[in-house]
Symmetry: C2
Subunit: 126 residues, 2 copies
Amino acid sequence: MSVPAAVVAAMRATNERFSRAVAARDIAAFDAIYTSDALILPPGAQPIQGREPIKAFWQSALVGMDVKAAVLEAVDAELLGPHVFEIGRGVLTVGAGQQVAVKYVVQWRQEDSLWKWHVDIWNPNQ
Amino acid sequence: MSVPAAVVAAMRATNERFSRAVAARDIAAFDAIYTSDALILPPGAQPIQGREPIKAFWQSALVGMDVKAAVLEAVDAELLGPHVFEIGRGVLTVGAGQQVAVKYVVQWRQEDSLWKWHVDIWNPNQ
């Protein structure tokens, strides 16, 4: 089923929140991006469960990769039961300006009136 | 919602079909693994849409990586609307016996009375 326009707008707001949080290295902002019991499956690492460990991962990853910016774009999204299944692509700007293209799948859930990432897996295009 | 036992069994059969297809390099068997309009998001490559291009990818990847065996294990699966969302892990055996651990998310759909992979994204643990 297609995703209601209000949910699409809420999803876009969360993705823009992620872009701002990355640019500002504002890890506290991730509270409004991931659900409390979210799971991430990062390339080159074990799965990480729970928002606090996920925030620690991103703190380390943003500094370690010197991520300056992140832009996400939904390619396809569908409502599956009470949740949303999204396929997307993104570009990270790292270091002196290198662009890293990635693709991802996110399962979205509503929590505290926000739409957040509940399961998040991605990998690089190159 | 939890996945009905009959669907769990059908999913396991598909995963075992994948293991046999990989071991035998039997690309034709992928017709019973991926839906006709499936999408895969492989690490180090662009997204690939459609079963025939996906079969060409696997033909090349199995030979190129010299994959000898693949074992998949569901970690979590839930029924979302008419489809299934699965989080899993796998081990590929390549070359002279090196083990490559991966994790994945698959959206499953029923097609031709089989449960098949409709969206498939994975990445390595190391």
